[in-house]
Symmetry: C2
Subunit: 313 residues, 2 copies
């Protein structure tokens, strides 16, 4: 069974603010992380929605150092550490473990397609053995639409069976509930923690023994998502889920990362938040108008988000 | 029109030998590069078939240093330098330019899918401006099957028009001759150098104004491919192309990277060459038997490949 102190609940793949020269804007990142933590959500920094793969391993290590150095609690963090190169993944993962992070969210190597389960097993196995630290907790990151490299059930089973203290869970961003349900049915009762990749599936996941969700929208709507996580057994849970979906659907009509940054920019009054690192691009003026209008009609707010915009980075 | 000294002809995406601990085996890499150069082919180190994305930027820079340090001529090299992260691409590209490489082969950032031409333009534009070195020569790497991020004709045109001295060519690994032909027709006469990604299209490319090919099989069959490049106007060119295809087809039935390494291992008598870095896996015994049998029946040889195997790395 899972240790009682394992990280669970709602985590945000924290969007990464950038300065005009596209370097990471640490001041805004730390402030946003603190706001998310204050809503009782955890920090899956360096997720897909963090533009993680648009930053080098050195940049990501420096961000982790700055976050922990600023007092952000590493036991509330599950940084993404899966890169294409075995050596990169080992370096970044080792750094996260050394800093005391609760776990790491690990993409499979995603350049080569049609790789075998045997090859992926060797990859994760090599990472685990090279780190060689009992504190390492790996959450496998299944996001076939972007990685194009799926984590199959036989592969999950082999890794969980071989490294039951280390490969302790996954994030399922397939959006395919039948897949999530199959993973939960197969491994959920053995202490394998399954996070869904969207709060749209949070209630369903909790009813089937899930560990929570790691969702883009937790960057802007963390309190309400966290409330459903806490109250999923309550009679109003389905109504809460419907409310979450309204916000989710308003944002998900647009490219997710620039849309999230636009929402943070608008509700914090800090236009610097809208920047993305190439190859991504900002929303068009028309998209911004549509997105903010939809949210306003839903009376969406981000309470506690610092209203006094910091100076331009 | 293109400068006369631009790199052209046949280049090998050099397979990267690894030691038992999966680190790059520099001794074998240098030896293999020298053998390819001796067949009058160039070195597209860090290509797809080099397992480039399985190595960190630091590992790739160290390999470049070691190659140039050992006397390998950088003007015969077009290293792959395109990474997911803008910062990684800038660092690795800058290093290649500093070492005097003839050019760099640049993948688009390949984690995010469905990115816009505008976003890709900003990415390549930013790299070009950050490097800020008149010696920089970028060859765009179009390999949609693996990158899942195509380089469209409008994007190529915009980059070539904006940076005519820098974005000077491409490698087309689409395998789609109609696409290659369209690029050649649009930009070939203006000095844009198009390399095809397989020698199976070499003769066709040369007849339409192509610059050569960068092909996996140039790791094992460089002399014959180079001969067709030199002799493409000769009356026996079609017969030469047919002979090249026989070798190509024998290898291409199997996963390309482990197959190439198996062939090098066999014809050099050096079993250490068979190793691949995870997530790739070696060929099965049955595959090895089939591959080597097919090559033997074609009386395939690798003349000059050092027959005395070095000690196990």
């Amino acid at each position: 069974m899972a240790e009682p102190h394992r990280i669970k609940g709602v985590l945000a793949p924290v969007v990464t603010p950038v300065k005009a020269d596209y370097s990471a804007d640490m001041e805004r990142l730390i402030r946003h992380c603190r706001w998310i933590l204050a809503q009782h959500c955890g920090l899956a920094v360096f997720g897909t929605n963090s533009e993680a793969n648009s930053f080098s391993v050195n940049e990501r290590m420096a961000m982790l150092d700055a976050l922990v150095g600023s007092g952000v609690d590493p036991t509330r963090m599950m940084p993404g550490t899966g890169c294409c190169a075995l050596s990169d993944t080992i370096q970044l993962t080792g750094h996260a473990v050394k800093l005391g992070c609760a776990g790491v969210l690990m993409l499979p190597p995603f350049y080569y397609k049609d790789v075998s389960d045997e090859g992926l097993y060797r990859y994760f196995s090599e990472v685990t053995q090279r780190i060689g630290d009992a504190r390492l907790r790996i959450y496998l990151y299944h996001i076939p639409l972007l990685s194009q490299v799926p984590m199959t059930l036989p592969l999950i089973e082999r890794l969980f069976t071989t490294y039951p203290q280390t490969v302790v869970g996954m994030k399922d961003s397939s959006g395919d509930w039948s897949h999530t349900k199959a993973v939960l049915a197969a491994f959920g009762k053995s202490g394998f923690d399954v996070f869904v990749g969207t709060e749209a599936l949070l209630l369903a996941a909790m009813r089937h023994g899930g560990a929570g969700c790691i969702s883009a929208t937790a960057n802007i709507n963390p309190a309400a998502i966290r409330t459903l996580y806490r109250d999923w057994r309550n009679t109003d849970a389905d109504a809460q889920q419907d409310m979450l979906n309204l916000v989710r659907n308003a944002v998900a009509k647009y490219p997710m990362i620039p849309a999230l940054k636009q929402v943070v920019a608008h509700y914090s009054g800090d236009a610097a938040w809208t920047r993305v690192r190439p190859p991504l691009t900002e929303l068009t003026a028309e998209q911004v108008h549509g997105l903010l209008g939809d949210l306003a009609r839903r009376a969406f707010t981000m309470p506690g988000l610092r209203p006094d915009a910091a100076s331009e980075g």
